[in-house]
Symmetry: C2
Subunit: 521 residues, 2 copies
């Protein structure tokens, strides 16, 4: 890149978004966290001081700095402050136990751990499991005093391909891997996310999606780019979400279907009629019934699909005006598809084991393969895993899908979630969608249990809607209206709560272990 | 750039937008032109065949290919077809005379001129003024036959910094200069434009802004990126604009204030109440009175400011929710400002002659200086002009502005439009805004005429609203309510029409020549 083109070449970095917003929206509220609020000018100042503080304790360019915090102002600030220090941001899943945290701190060779006061004890326990020399910085009153004395530091990358952050995958299977994001990819993905979600200077974004998950789908940078307002919410409880939605006149939030389902079912749920509440739904396909329920409340759903390895949202199912004329059931079916590559992500394929495209017939299942500026650089310090995931220049997502004739992607399952019964493939997603349409069912997970005759058989674990009772036989009979006989679960078991990952994905491995005894044959 | 990063590095080019939309929105209507319409799949096919045709007549990578056409489907196709051939797109202003066109064809050393049948005679006349060997390709029935037989060709740039197009400045002063756009800049600007204008897959964009002007502010690429629909309109007449707005349920269009003013004043004007019609207004500051009139019709105005050298829109005055509570006059004043750098354009300054920032006090006038990915590479084959325009790594726009304390930019005038009367600076924009608020005035241009005593004095040339009569003395008396005495024009002259450039800017130079005899003293 010719370096003399200073007038028209600038490295793409999301750090520029904060600098711009602090200049042009200096007095706007950037972050609300409980009773505290900071303007964009203050957010820039605090982030730059955080960077200065990190430098003063010895952080050098390229160092990894970990952050352990729920969705508080500290997390928003760290998305700018850590890279302003020239360091690589490593956000930690707050639901991991100290031993798991220690493994990540060791693997990433972090020099500093910045943590929320509520997690200081957890951090100390994690340190007990590692021999590494890691400095702990607790964001308490003492931190505030240090920040006030700190000299602001703002280092921008010379190279837009420099590593910006590591995102350790939430790991429903296997060992955690550190996904490397780059400044260029995060910049472009932020613009794409804003464009598809419709986030503007007038938007109020509620933080329900954990920022430690895929850097919150790049939204710490994207909302800042637009000059919208971040509303922090440390814990996601439906009543508090609704209270925040009303108090701050929230316009946007993200939710896994399980989160959206709880929101819609909560007694505090009510119709939003003075604005549009846009909810980006990802992590798993929302059942058509859930889409209908949300629509009744005046919630506009954008369904999307993505992975940690693709900076979050990869494919988006934007509303299309051709669908206006369809009836609601047809609309729900179309909207439940994962959609099409977002505006910067045009290279999405569904491939067979040889890496060739499967027919775009809506039936032939293959693996989703992608490449482009929105694909991770690779797994940090794991060349073998990187080479395995990217065997031929195309990243394999591990997700099984069909490509429809209109080139819309529809995920069938994670490879491990396909149930093979008597040689027939059963999509657990399809069965879950059918179950979610039942009036008594709030959430459903369908798992494969071993079966002597059929090899595997589906079993459903569901949570009932408030006040309802789940009757296995009644539901199984009801399912015959929408599913082939071999797809109907052998039993439908009700539980109070489904085990979930931080990003709201149901932990099916755990369910399979818990319910193995149900296997009949 | 490491070339082995094929999985996650792709050159940024707006050509990718069409490839994506043809894949994911293949059967959507991409272009409507009169009774004809083409889907995105067809637009890609026609563009690729245009590229194949150009290659077959000898166009080589890096060649310049000129296009002379109004806002027809040919222009949309050429924005993809010419670069697909590996060539550089040179769009020609259809209002230039043959001699001016020949100068540009010569300067750009074009090898082919692709032209609309209606301009074939003009093209032949232009060829008569040049010795260059340029092939003429007329887009008539014969062209359609050639296209049908052509082999599709899609060449994507290896280097995102490659030159994509040349835009010869409309030249209200001086010699035309060929502004070089690059693939990277056009890609980023397209994303920014969509984000600020709110263009999505559901948008219907009406082509009133000429595509030959700054590549239509990058909208041929941006609307295509979103998967919206292009509605071509070869000539901009208010009644036909309104007819198209209704027939196609247009959601977006761009307009110079003069165009918007004609639209609002036309008998066909009516309130849009079943959707939002968003109008991006640039080229000159819209008067607060015009903003009010448009708002009454249900039109949402986004005011912006840009230049050919900045890929069109550089600063945007997005609506801010803090302004909701203000009264309409206050809102109009805030909205009439040029705003803040768009999301990819954060480096905008107002500088004095030494290149230092003027105070951000809303009063001190300086020159707008910018740099960033949205600034041209330079002027084609004109190193002297490039060096003069970019003396120190910052491009000087030639526009005089103040920076407000909130870092909003407000243009005062082109340097040459400041009127210096008795040592006092008079902003012609300010006087024009005051005039536009008068109920009898449709459009106003204020020019400086020589004056023996004062040096210069302002004179106003206005067009009356339909049915009204302009009385110079009455208007001058009325202006005393809003302007200092020395700013009130010595006379107010009514004309049927103001002379304008292709982009809707009033040709003040021409007015000054026409009205020089009014100068008194």
């Amino acid at each position: 890149m010719p370096k003399d083109r200073t007038h028209n070449f600038e490295p793409l970095t999301p750090l520029k978004f904060l600098q711009r917003s602090a200049t042009v929206f200096g007095d706007r509220v950037a972050v609300v966290d409980g009773n505290r609020r900071w303007t964009y000018r203050e957010l820039l100042d605090r982030s730059a001081r955080q960077a200065g503080l990190l430098r003063s304790v010895g952080v050098a360019p390229g160092d990894r700095v970990a952050v352990l915090a729920p969705n508080t102002h500290l997390m928003v600030e760290a998305h700018f402050g850590v890279p302003f220090a020239g360091a690589v941001l490593v956000t930690l899943n707050t639901r991991l136990d100290p031993r798991e945290l220690a493994r990540i701190l060791d693997h990433a060779e972090c020099s500093v751990l910045l943590c929320d006061p509520d997690f200081a004890a957890t951090a100390e326990q994690a340190f007990a499991s590692t021999d590494a020399d890691i400095q702990l910085v607790v964001a308490d009153q003492g931190y505030e005093a240090l920040l006030a004395r700190s000299v602001p530091w703002m280092e921008l990358p010379d190279d837009e391909d420099a590593v910006l952050s590591l995102n350790y995958t939430s790991g429903t299977t296997g060992a955690p891997k550190g996904v490397m994001y780059q400044h260029r990819g995060a910049y472009l993905q932020s613009l794409a996310v804003n464009s598809h979600f419709g986030i503007t200077a007038s938007s109020v974004y509620l933080w329900t999606l954990p920022m430690f998950h895929c850097n919150g789908w790049c939204l710490p940078w994207a909302v800042t780019a637009a000059g919208g307002t971040h509303i922090c919410l440390p814990a996601v409880r439906p009543r508090e979400v609704w209270a925040a939605v009303d108090e701050y006149r929230v316009t946007h939030l993200c939710a896994a279907p399980t989160v959206l389902s709880s929101l819609c079912a909560d007694p505090a749920a009510h119709t939003i009629d003075d604005r549009t509440l846009s909810v980006a739904v990802g992590g798993a396909p929302p059942a058509p019934a859930l889409i209908s329920r949300a629509t009744d409340l005046g919630i506009a759903i954008t369904h999307l699909y993505g992975l940690t390895e693709t900076y979050g949202p990869l494919a988006i199912c934007d509303w299309r005006r051709e669908w206006d004329e369809l009836d609601r059931d047809e609309q729900a079916v179309l909207r439940a598809r994962q959609g099409v590559g977002n505006v910067i992500a045009e290279q999405i394929r569904v491939v067979d084991e040889s890496g060739a495209d499967v027919p775009s017939d809506g039936r032939t299942v293959g693996e989703v393969a992608v490449r482009g500026n929105n694909v991770m650089l690779g797994y940090y310090r794991d060349e073998a895993a990187t080479a395995e995931a990217i065997p031929d220049g195309w990243f394999r997502t591990g997700d099984l899908a069909v490509m429809h004739p209109d080139n819309y992607l529809q995920i069938r399952d994670r490879a491990k979630d396909i149930i093979i019964s008597g040689g027939e493939n059963i999509s657990s997603v399809e069965v879950e969608s059918a179950l979610a349409a039942h009036p008594d069912v709030l959430e459903a997970a369908v798992i494969a249990l071993p079966h002597d005759h059929w090899g595997e058989r589906p079993v459903a674990v569901v949570t009932p809607v408030a006040g309802a009772t789940v009757n296995s036989d009644e539901i199984r009979a009801w399912l015959r209206g929408s599913l082939a006989g071999f797809k109907i679960p052998d039993s439908v078991v009700a539980v109070d709560e489904l085990p979930k990952t931080a990003s709201g994905k149901i932990r099916k491995k755990e369910l399979r272990e818990d319910w193995a005894s149900l296997g009949a044959g």
